[in-house]
């Protein structure tokens, strides 16, 4: 099997999230991990006389875990996330991710998300940057394209 020459890492990945005014903010510099779970909703059944399981599929959804580095500026990740959570109603916001970067050929993921939860532990004994974890759930259509601009 041929050894890939195109393996990439996420060092230069880009993350964008809508702020309260609907403007996409580049939060790459204030977040340090994004974890995607692409869920394909499967159902299964067996029928009489047939030994093999049969399956069908229905819904698709994406769950995202975003880790933000705690900082104070309004255009950075934590302030946007807190503002999102405290807004009533919180509503949907756009999340976009470029992987491995935004050059031609990169993957571009885009969709609308709801904020499911925010979590941060404020620990006076920990000298590391405080991390806030946001759980996002996709709402409606999600797209995956190859960057070609």
């Amino acid at each position: 099997m041929a050894q890939t020459q195109d393996a990439v890492n996420a060092c230069d990945a880009e993350v964008f999230l809508d702020d309260a005014t609907g403007v996409l903010q580049d939060i790459s510099g204030s977040s340090n991990s994004v974890s995607f779970t692409w869920d394909n909703s499967l159902g299964e059944f067996h029928t009489f006389g047939a030994p093999w399981r049969a399956m069908q599929e229905c819904g698709k959804a994406i769950d995202v875990t975003l880790n933000a580095v705690y900082s104070l500026p309004a255009a950075e990740a934590v302030a946007i996330l807190l503002d999102w959570w405290y807004a009533i109603p919180s509503g949907r916001r756009t999340l976009e991710v470029n992987m491995p970067d935004n050059n031609v050929g990169s993957d571009h993921f885009e969709g609308e998300y709801r904020l499911d939860s925010l979590q941060a532990t404020l620990d006076p004994a920990d000298p590391n940057a405080t991390i806030m974890t946001a759980e996002l759930k996709s709402d409606l259509v999600q797209t995956h394209t190859t960057t070609a601009t």
């Binding site: 031609v104 050929g105 797209t143 995956h144 394209t145 190859t146 960057t147 070609a148 601009t149």
Partner: protein, 115 residues
């Protein structure tokens, strides 16, 4: 002309997989990169003559060096009208545009949809 093998994002526009484009806004190096990644491929267009109902038409265009669907799509419509006028049987510009639309359909691969 390139076949789009994986949906391409051009700003807020998406070029669907199965469609085709000249990708004129990209540099040769950028197109080569997409080719290398298998996101696009070269179009191997069918000859006009094999499209249903195109035999006579294809013969007339062949005289002008237009053999394949892509040759036809890339040809200047006004020039095609002018060339046809010289034969005494002119085509209308709107007719050529309609044929181009039809011919384009033969290049588009519809996405597979199954249960």
């Amino acid at each position: 002309m390139y076949r789009i093998l994986s949906a391409l994002g051009k700003g807020s526009r998406v070029l669907a997989a199965g469609s085709f484009s000249d990708l004129a806004w990209l540099s040769e190096k950028q197109r080569d990169r997409l080719m290398e990644l298998g996101k696009i491929g070269t179009v191997r267009p069918p000859p006009l003559a094999i499209l249903p109902g195109w035999k006579r038409r294809a013969e007339r265009f062949a005289v002008q060096g237009i053999i394949t669907v892509v040759d036809f799509l890339e040809a200047n419509t006004k020039e095609l009208v002018e060339q046809s006028a010289k034969t005494g049987r002119p085509y209308k510009e709107s007719t050529i545009e309609r044929w181009k639309k039809d011919a384009k359909e033969w290049l588009i691969i519809k996405p597979r949809v199954d249960g």
